[in-house]
Amino acid sequence: MEPPAPSLGHGAGFPMAPDPALCTVRSPVALQVGDVKTDLARPGVAVIDVALPPTQPLDLQEIVFKNSYTAFLTVRVQRRRPCDVGREGARKWVTCLWNHCLMPSPHTEAGSQDYFSVFRHQMLCDVDQVTAVRLILRQPSPVWLHFTLEELRLYPRGQQSLQTGFPSWLSNLAPQQQPENLHGGVPDPEKVSTEVQQLWVLTEMIRANQTAARIGRFDVDGCYDINLLSYT
């Protein structure tokens, strides 16, 4: 099942996140002791298995999902390691996120339908070359009828952002005003012309940026003769 493309379009002009990885998300399986149908107690644990195509192990960057009444999330991954090549048998499952809290107060609604992202830097272990992901959902409160995660998407690693230390001038945001020193005579005409050019460029930019502020007209060309209100 191919997950839908992310809807990040706010028109802001920042770089789009890479497309989500192809994977198969199975429906959640409740872990319960005893018969699922007749037992009155609710299972508080469910497991969602996500299988990735075996030939394309994923370098995981981000997991995005919409919560639906899950309180705590644990994520385990199965990785393909160079030492595994040639060796058959079960690969090890490693926990990369343990008991991440989605609902701070599980009996109440806070966080119950929110969108969440889990990033590689929050994970306990390295998540490169991942072949399978298992999400273990816990909901200790018995008041909710169902709990799961929706719109689950895995994002592969994109470009790495370069970490730079910020220069010292930013640490002092209120610089002292230095009065212009005109004792040296008339300022250099070249300097003045470059400054004027910069000013002109800025004015052009301002003119190009039309304001989005409303004018306040509520009618259409002076006419406000309307039908009944519409229900859609």
Binding site: L8, W169, N209, F218, L229
Partner: protein, 512 residues
Amino acid sequence: MLEQDTGLSLAIAQIVQRLKGSSLHSQLERQARGSLHKPEIKLDSLKEDIKEFLKTSGLFPSPCHPAAPPEHMKEPLVYMRKAQGSWEKRILKSLNSMCTELSIPLARKRPIGEQKELLNKWNEMGTDEPDLSLFRPVYAPKDFLEVLMNLRNPNYENGDQPSFRNHLGLIQVPLKVKDIPELRDYFSELGLNTGQLGIDDSTQVPPELFENEHVRVGQTVLTEQDSAAAQQYVRQGCPTALRAELWALILNISNQPEDILYYEQLKSNVIQHDLLVDSLIYKDVKLTASNDDYYFVFEDYLYQVLLCFSRDTSVLEHFSYSSATPPKSYIRGKLGLEEYAVFYPPNALSQLNSFIISVAPLCFLYHEPSKLYQIFREMYVRFFFRLHSISSHPSGIVSLCLLFETLLQTHLPQLFYHLREIGAQPLRISFKWMVRAFSGYLATDQLLLLWDRILGYNSLEILAVLAAAVFAFRAVNLMEVTSLAAAEAVLADLSTLKVMPLLQIFLFATVT
């Protein structure tokens, strides 16, 4: 970091969009232009440097998740959005049926003669006595309470058998509300050891102990024009002389010439077009404010403010964070064509009644119509709109009701049980107080002290705490009543109550 980067870029883009064309934008650009000539600044790395700095300084809180659709930002819970949608449909149906029954158009352009007449009468619209007997209010507070009572989360176990899952009060949704230890922490400036206006300025207390110093600090805050400091300051109450300016400072109202011009434009809109909702406003003002002992003098002001308010399209912006959706209509003959779609009324708030009376207290503070108008509009889009729409926000009316019921149940369990047994659920009585922010029930000076705290804490939770405190104060009498009508009689008159001592005792001096 990808998350912080995209979140930060989104926040920056949204703020730049908001600022475009405003005077703050040009001030910032002027400053930036000046700073560009400093030798330490490297233009090529400028953008990244600023981003890094903003990230590490913690000045930018993360906005809504980028994958979340816009309706999620208005209200994250799906069933609440649905409930708000059906409530709005009911109101639209009611307006439409009123329009067809009375054969009055929703909007009508006034003929020139009528426009001139209205312009002449602008300052004394209260003298008009139009026939309003056929108009009925769109809804009453108890209708709204019925809707809130019937809110159910489909994923919550609402069994018929009484169990710990069922709430004993009227509200049955499991929202997170603060308990008394958290409220004590949140409202720490109202504690017993901190001076308060409303308590420590009474005649028995010598002014040197608190009042003089407090007034002096207030004057300093005003000269500095520090909005954040003003918000902190009003938590202990505002001196009457400084209140108007301090509130304007907190709400960022400066009454520039362009604001006065904007108000005049709204006034001309009122004169040009006559709306059906105008008659509803007239009726409501006549029913509520004109009969009130304190507010009847402001009747004319109320018309001026409210009629202009219903034409103000800038109010439409608050719908991006309110759970409500503005009602639409189309120009006659152009049904379905989006270029001819307009909002009705222009500010898209057809449920104006039951809070009209919350304009009236502001008339004591502001005498200039355009400033009064702006203060009221800002207070509405910041706070009071939450009292009229269904949402899970901590200051929304649903959370306030639940907070009130939880506080009463936890700290006055006998009273709560007794009232429930006699069929007088406490929320039925206190709902009308909270939905009007106590306007029209408390004495005006006490009401303004309460609203000081709303502004100071930027939250309406204090309304629920006060409602519970009032019940606690009259608990002895309430334990003796045997019917809903008798309970209402005990709580009918709140005009003698002193707000701050009640709040202090309930929060800080009750044994938990």
